[in-house]
Symmetry: D4
Subunit: 235 residues, 8 copies
Amino acid sequence: MLSLYSIKEVGNFAKVDIDRQKRRGIPEVVFAQGKTASETKGIIEAMMSESGSVVVSRIREADYSGVVSFARDSGWSVSCGQNSTSILIYKTAIKKAAGSVGIITAGTSDIWIAEEARLVCEAMGCECHTSYDVGIAGIQRVFASVHDMIEKDVDAIVVVAGMEGALATVISSLVDVPVVGVPASAGYGYGGEGSAALASMLQSCALGMAVVNIDNGIGAGAVAASISRRANRRR
Amino acid sequence: MLSLYSIKEVGNFAKVDIDRQKRRGIPEVVFAQGKTASETKGIIEAMMSESGSVVVSRIREADYSGVVSFARDSGWSVSCGQNSTSILIYKTAIKKAAGSVGIITAGTSDIWIAEEARLVCEAMGCECHTSYDVGIAGIQRVFASVHDMIEKDVDAIVVVAGMEGALATVISSLVDVPVVGVPASAGYGYGGEGSAALASMLQSCALGMAVVNIDNGIGAGAVAASISRRANRRR
Amino acid sequence: MLSLYSIKEVGNFAKVDIDRQKRRGIPEVVFAQGKTASETKGIIEAMMSESGSVVVSRIREADYSGVVSFARDSGWSVSCGQNSTSILIYKTAIKKAAGSVGIITAGTSDIWIAEEARLVCEAMGCECHTSYDVGIAGIQRVFASVHDMIEKDVDAIVVVAGMEGALATVISSLVDVPVVGVPASAGYGYGGEGSAALASMLQSCALGMAVVNIDNGIGAGAVAASISRRANRRR
Amino acid sequence: MLSLYSIKEVGNFAKVDIDRQKRRGIPEVVFAQGKTASETKGIIEAMMSESGSVVVSRIREADYSGVVSFARDSGWSVSCGQNSTSILIYKTAIKKAAGSVGIITAGTSDIWIAEEARLVCEAMGCECHTSYDVGIAGIQRVFASVHDMIEKDVDAIVVVAGMEGALATVISSLVDVPVVGVPASAGYGYGGEGSAALASMLQSCALGMAVVNIDNGIGAGAVAASISRRANRRR
Amino acid sequence: MLSLYSIKEVGNFAKVDIDRQKRRGIPEVVFAQGKTASETKGIIEAMMSESGSVVVSRIREADYSGVVSFARDSGWSVSCGQNSTSILIYKTAIKKAAGSVGIITAGTSDIWIAEEARLVCEAMGCECHTSYDVGIAGIQRVFASVHDMIEKDVDAIVVVAGMEGALATVISSLVDVPVVGVPASAGYGYGGEGSAALASMLQSCALGMAVVNIDNGIGAGAVAASISRRANRRR
Amino acid sequence: MLSLYSIKEVGNFAKVDIDRQKRRGIPEVVFAQGKTASETKGIIEAMMSESGSVVVSRIREADYSGVVSFARDSGWSVSCGQNSTSILIYKTAIKKAAGSVGIITAGTSDIWIAEEARLVCEAMGCECHTSYDVGIAGIQRVFASVHDMIEKDVDAIVVVAGMEGALATVISSLVDVPVVGVPASAGYGYGGEGSAALASMLQSCALGMAVVNIDNGIGAGAVAASISRRANRRR
Amino acid sequence: MLSLYSIKEVGNFAKVDIDRQKRRGIPEVVFAQGKTASETKGIIEAMMSESGSVVVSRIREADYSGVVSFARDSGWSVSCGQNSTSILIYKTAIKKAAGSVGIITAGTSDIWIAEEARLVCEAMGCECHTSYDVGIAGIQRVFASVHDMIEKDVDAIVVVAGMEGALATVISSLVDVPVVGVPASAGYGYGGEGSAALASMLQSCALGMAVVNIDNGIGAGAVAASISRRANRRR
Amino acid sequence: MLSLYSIKEVGNFAKVDIDRQKRRGIPEVVFAQGKTASETKGIIEAMMSESGSVVVSRIREADYSGVVSFARDSGWSVSCGQNSTSILIYKTAIKKAAGSVGIITAGTSDIWIAEEARLVCEAMGCECHTSYDVGIAGIQRVFASVHDMIEKDVDAIVVVAGMEGALATVISSLVDVPVVGVPASAGYGYGGEGSAALASMLQSCALGMAVVNIDNGIGAGAVAASISRRANRRR
């Protein structure tokens, strides 16, 4: 399960785990936030030399177009997340053989997180169905959206919700597939910055949901795609 | 608005505000938790000598039957809260002239809080309609309950909910009367002891709800009855 | 109570609940903070096509004058909150048929929150009486202000207070109408950013107050106006 | 997806959602902690009259043997969790048609939580493989345990860990099936009562894990079994 | 200012600072909570052999009468705090030469804390004026109490208040002597256990108050008596 | 004690309590942080028309020199705090008749807070003795500093300390005058932003210290000067 | 460094890491708190069959004498911690070849923690020098104690302190050997239960100290003995 | 141990403890963050006049090159930390006589903290071995790195890790030298800003590790070098 020597050194600042995709079915995601543009590009290069695709998340605004250009200039394709600073770089279109995932947000401001999840799901070979801005203040929107997901027979549902985060519980109470809750940092005051949504999802009275950290669309996508891939491994 | 001399001393441990019912329309509630049985009885006596009724909340288990007997032996009537350690003591039946309040709980373990609210509402002259255990894990229960409250034309709704507390938001999103949310301490782990429910209610995406503290059924009842009384002041 | 199909899609980023005003008596408020100016304008347009008015809150400073101009250029009237980034857009003057609300602040820096409440109350048809900077460090100011509110026979009082938030308790102890407390984020150090005021209001020893989240003037306005409207529904 | 009238009232304290098993594939679990023995028995009776099995969790120590006897005297079988106060009541042996789940704990004191998960998984038709006390202070234990789970081709792995909770991250870094982390309340001081383990799991540098609340073995079992059932729905 | 050798060893578990009364004017207080009755008695003995009095605080309920008897049997006088487990042991009546201190509580349940302060003040030679149960829910009580303190020309005022703790701010806004606030642990839910009162007092909008820790009547008494002693050092 | 009509309205944004200096001996301090320069100037003007001096704290950097100029141009004197954005405006030199206060800081970065305290003390007629950067990492500095304060016979000592805040406890253990602790926000990580220093001072094992909020030099100065004034009232 | 097969199974509830002493020089400590007496005894037996000694910590009061008897009846020697529920079981006296460690407490109530550290140090072959109850409220005690430790040339010092925990910083500022701080849970109110002491030690302005968790005497002993052993490895 | 008169005043803003290096073997580090460039330079000058080297940490970005130039222009050598704003200024190369320290980071973004530790270790005469970016998501990297440190026979290991911080526990479980854990602030959401890593390290199930505060590379270096120096004092 673990190859002891699958390490690729990048300069004196990074050691890439080139075995991860094979071992885990989940690609190593480049978290660009704490890195300089040149460090990020160096790591992208190292990873693309070993693999067919890479997800890069949280690229600093100032570096964003530079990183995209770098990838395109290197001859790779780039898929950009809507409202997001994450991208998927790939050599050839990734085959959608790992089932399908539904992705729902409570509000407009949560879309960038949902899109992080979508990019990871697509990198892992899943089809994605999205439905954005279906908060429970107008709960009729939720039923329409859930109905759609059930019709599409998704293997898992990612629900991104900030403020009181109740959407995740409501959806979980209505479906029979696993739900991955993502608390979003929308909201101010007590319980703001996603803490109410996180607490709400961990306290959910509806069984069948598990949770990732606040704003962690990448993590939610990886879990949902793992579930979906497992559900379709015999295809 | 304020009579500077309306103070009644009880022993050397209490100063009763005998003007409160008149000034505020809200009776002074005896919070028995930190008091000995004899202190509690002393204060009850002082208040009943000035007023027609008194609510006593959080009577210690060991003191409960003693306090009830004391009241009955004094010739007063006592109304006991279901699953609760709060009671309403009164001389003659209180007239229901201050409108009606709906009281809903998410679970069975929240009933004692709802009953505290009910006793205060009745002390303030409101009719109460209750619906207990309508958590959103089976959301069909919620619609039935809300429909009932709308039919009864309640002036305000108290919603008691623990764990993720989403019930308050769902109900608030469906009605056009003010909702008073009471976070309940049901729930363990992160967000337990009512903190998730409190955060959830304060972060509610549905406008029209205000909140009292965790497990504070007394406070919720007083607010709801104030609203209801105001709504019916011209009757 | 709930029309299952009352959804208006705006681009691929918003689903407006066009039924809300009718169902709840509370208009959907556009929370502009997490939205681009063009998204905000798109949603305003969608909502004004269905309704006579809309409140837009927390418009980013850079977008503020653009949004106001857009509204005026569309032929609508705009009412701006003093010291605030929230506005009320309306077609024809809104009738003041839903009673009156008192709005009080402890300090000068809390005014922007009070004004959010005022705009929502006016959108919902309430008359507003304001009294700003009556902190209890000079408690004589409080009595004058409360006396005034009682004279005006307001149906509910919104109290905005930061730091230790005691003003809400003091006012609540003096009046017989429901009080809606709004903790304000004024204050630094322990209990700063509104947390002391929130705790103080939830712990209030004076029954009859309910609370909304820190700085949530919009929410307070909606609750107070709901109370007031209910109190005047037979007019 | 939602039958509006599937509610079964039990006394005046509970409303059972009899449609849940059909709608969600997850049985309603009776959380006995806040209920009297007779309330618990009443709800068990109501649920067994509609279904073939029920899980009862967190039975108070004093009520435990009484509830077990009640179930056996009613002619049902009972499966008890090792070191736990949760039980599975069933009429006939539940078919293991929904795949298999691995359950691992870091310490001896976490076993009762793992057993809650096991009972729910078995109620949902999953086979369970357990490995207890494999904390990373002796990391050789982890590799042996993971190797075993991979050999058994489990569909999902539940990892229960207290203190620093690192076991969940280590396991997640080694496998290609979804991992459900359960922070356990073992541990004192800063980060005690499960909060370090929860934070650790939410911050995990290894993608592919989602989390339930502290000590929530029931929730973890429901998620893992949902994943497993989905992965085997075509069998 | 510091004698390097003024240490008295008691068994192998304590080292008494016999110089403290002389150096600081504040006696060493025996915090009995974490000690066995015999350890407590041993330390009392050691201290009384060097000094004329000693305060013993938080004596375990089971040890209380034993410690009191021990002191009386040793030929000393004992003054007991009302509702408190703290006592003052002294050889001859302590001269009241250090001015006077006012002590006020918001509720009945705060009296035990106020009494801790009183015992320390008396040990340090101050006269004490107490006024208990003057919470601001009936603010007329406050004015009467403050008026009384001003008349008595106290040198400092200790205010003990739980829940929202606003009493300390109100009193501080009315007087021209230093106020020492003591947050009391009365109160449950958010801000309970004294945290709201602490935050409220630290955030007080009325200058002139400093604060000691929650329930720390001993500390408040020491500060108030230090102030009073300083104010009367020329007598 | 309280004149009910001593209110001076400034525009529609402030109500100055012109009675405060007389009632409390503490001047109303203008907290400029949340105000525009013109609001600040308006309030200064209103207060100087009633009084001989005013302290203005936390003037925004951009407004600082403008406010100072405004005061000087109005013919008043201005005293500026070292490293601080607070100033004291006065007409004629304030008489030092209210005793003396010692002010000590643990580090260089705490000086601005100490200077806030100094300005308030001087406004209240106290002489100030300062000693800056005497942190206990080199405890010999502390003894020298304390020795100096004792020699000068100060009436109270303000100790400003960030990080672990132990300086306040060490000083308190050595002197016989009241100590006012001010936790400073110096420090990062756990316990950063002053929270460790606050906790440390509230938990102090040395009796005789009371505490104001983090960075609240103004509050500390007011308390220390109140103590000092009381101690010298017979002069 | 890691033997993959050094695991000893005990029943179905524990997997002992029999390689640890050899690999790490630190024995596996049996944390008895969450175990039944028979589980504890089983693990002791398994470990003693592989090793010459074992430390058992936090034995439940009810189990304490039974565990001690069991060990003695098995023919082993037992060393008991003063005021503690931890013991050291050994076959033959452990050679003191690993240097010496100083152990200091601020108060009497911290002794049980210090004794946990002492037992681990002795199990690891260190000599221990203890000095208990040297809190800084009488700082002359500290200098005497530190002087003694320097004379004895200890290799490391463990400092156990509750409340404000300043003792650790003061000692660290005076010595040139590593200091291991142990925050103790003595103390109530804000910063109580050891949180102030932890924050204080982590924020220490004196370099050269590292910290273990609140009340973790076992951990502190292991670190100090590791340091001492390293410092004497060439003996 | 303590020279009472070793104080060097710098302007009116600093008092340098010139005895520290001799007393403690740890140089006073200049924490530049809260100081102006000229204050920093003044303190550097004062310290270099008494000593052969000084570490300056957290120099503001804008001041960095100025401070470096100042040092070089003064004729001293400067060693800069990689990715860091800390520097080591020295007159002649510091002799490596105090043993060796291993420094490991989990990620690229933790390097600046590790470099702070390295500079302090070098200032104290230790050789440093670094290994950066060995996070446990690819645990094979850890074994390679630990193997290397064991081969080099380091006297102590500093482990810097953010997010879940599990690397410190894994390394601690494998080695027999003391480990100093440094939680790093990498990570967002719940447990972000280093709080999860801190909790994780304090809760570590592997004995033998002590912890410094979040991002405190300076403190970790000082502890590790103290250990190493002690271990090599007889060389």
